[in-house]
């Protein structure tokens, strides 16, 4: 049976290749930091299950140490010039999108097939991780098609992948770190504490009030922190899980997905999310640096209300 384990073998190989590529990139003055960071992730994917919990904890601290002391950098090389890219994009046309579309198609169609056809009982893929395993398969398929069609140099995908990875940098592991933070919150009893606290203030059995608190809390925390990813473990531990899901029996998929999207409404309204809201104003040479936020608020507020309605209706009534 193909389990998540095999996806991790693939991911570990990709990160190991990024680490080796980083080491050899003389244009990046911080290449040792990059190599160590991506190398540690490769170790985590390959050997995480053998390191023990404390060993993994030390690995996390090492990653944080590298990121926190600014040891990650970026190389300067671009493989092909913009002129070459424009030329080849004209030659290849919209077919260029097809290999990329193979990935979601494989994952989506495959998941449907493994849920609703006899393949379900084939025992080929671990039912708990069908989508992610198929994502890996989609990537391999897309790469095979691209190799056959474009005939790039053998290592080109890894070099180009590393270029993108370096441009994301330490932020790449932030979502995983936040999920780990959620685990610590749960173990330390944050959820139960806030749950008890919130049921003390919330009117007895009022679902709608709890939904309001959850969605507005997601938006507000996102506005303060500038990041919905960081707000999510906090609000999930505080209200989402203990009150909406466990106490009132809300649909967890709705509470999770729409809760995050309520946070995104907050992202539209805060200068703390500088990448999205302030940088474009500068790029467009606008006089008012808050012009983009001003343009977004009239969309964000009705959309937040829409999310509250979806949370309530889909989470509790359907």
């Amino acid at each position: 049976m193909i389990t998540l384990h095999w996806l991790y073998v693939l991911a570990g190989a990709v990160f190991a290749a990024f680490a080796i590529g980083s080491l050899r990139d003389a244009t990046n003055s911080k290449r040792w930091g990059n190599a160590a960071f991506w190398g540690l992730l490769a170790v985590s994917f390959w050997f995480g299950d053998f390191l023990g919990d404390v060993g993994n904890g030390v690995l996390v601290l090492a990653l944080v140490g590298i990121a926190g002391t600014h040891l990650l950098g970026r190389g300067a090389l671009q493989s092909t010039s913009n002129a070459q890219r424009t030329k080849s994009s004209e030659r290849l046309g919209n077919c260029l999108f097809l290999p990329a579309l193979v990935i979601p198609l494989t994952a989506f169609v495959g998941t449907l097939m493994f849920n609703y056809t006899p393949l379900k009982d084939s025992g080929l893929i671990d039912p708990k991780s069908v989508t992610l395993v198929l994502l890996g398969l989609g990537v391999i398929l897309a790469l095979a098609i691209s190799y056959a069609w474009l005939r790039p140099p053998l290592t080109a995908p890894l070099e180009e992948g590393r270029r993108l990875m370096d441009s994301i940098g330490w932020a790449a592991v932030l979502p995983q770190m936040l999920a780990a933070l959620g685990a610590v919150f749960a173990a330390a009893g944050v959820g139960t504490t806030v749950g008890a606290l919130a049921s003390a203030i919330l009117p007895e059995g009022s679902v709608i009030f709890a939904v309001l608190l959850y969605a507005l809390g997601m938006a507000a925390f996102t506005m303060i922190m500038g990041n919905a990813f960081a707000a999510f473990p906090v609000m999930a531990a505080a209200i989402g899980v203990p009150i909406l899901i466990q106490q009132h029996g809300g649909n967890p998929a709705v509470i999770g997905a729409v809760g995050m999207l309520a946070g995104f409404c907050g992202t539209l309204m805060t200068p703390m999310a500088a990448n999205f809201n302030i940088v474009p104003a500068v790029l467009l040479e606008l006089k008012d640096q808050y012009a983009v936020i001003r343009a977004q608020v009239p969309t964000a507020i009705p959309l937040l209300i829409a999310n509250i309605v979806i949370l309530y209706v889909a989470g509790f009534l359907l």
Binding site: L7, Y8, L10, A11, V14, S44, G48, D53, N56, V58, V60, G68, R85, S89, L92, N94, L96, F97, A100, T111, T131, L135, G136, V139, A142, S146, E160, L164, Q176, A179, A180, L181, V184, F185, A186, A188, G189, T192, T193, G226, A237, V241, I245, A253, G256, A257, L268, F276, P280, L283, L284, K287, D288, A291, V292, A295, P298, A306, I310, A314
Partner: protein
Amino acid sequence: MSYLPLIGIALVVLGFALRFNPLLVVAVSAIATGLLGGMDFLKVLATLGKGFNDNRFVSAVYIVLPVIGLLERYGLQQRARTLVGRMLRATAGRLLLGYLAFRQIFAALGLKDVAGHPQTVRPLVAPMAVAAAEKTHGKLDQATDERVKAMAAATDNVGLFFGEDIFIAIASILLIQGSLAGFGIQLTPIELSLWAIPTAICAFLIHGARLLYLDVQLARRPRVRGNDAEGHRS
């Protein structure tokens, strides 16, 4: 019951608001929360390590980067720009509406980085929207010009935020899955991404309506003198 572990939540909020390195903030907050919750340091470290190891699938999404990077080498971004450049140019509002749909659909298919503020908004969408507005409504004064450009940037953000979560292999979806799994709630990425669709539709309707209303507002705007006739189509 002790309220002390809640300080960890406050630390996350404060650390992010004060712009410390987010990984550092998360690690410090995790350790503080655990210690205040009565665990010893090794136990906290083990819980954090186990949480990290159990959630590796969140970072497994980066295996798509070699494919995207390879296609970029052959002009993926340039092709996306060509597509955007060919969009309906009738009015500023309709042009931006087309871009909103493009951005949402492509983000939902996992192609969120083919467009963006540096890639498409500044070189293409904003100037095209201004040109379309001037073509139908005459020369824009400074404030209106800024408003159209700001709407172009806003449209990119709305399209990205409320399209990307429909794609199953996006970090935010897997973060939700991982966070809830920490509480013993098992979900699949597909369940989560399907529930991103209603909000995506609402975002399209709400922001789309505002974009069409932008055309109405532009038409009502007092004209800049001397440029009245040039915008009229014969």
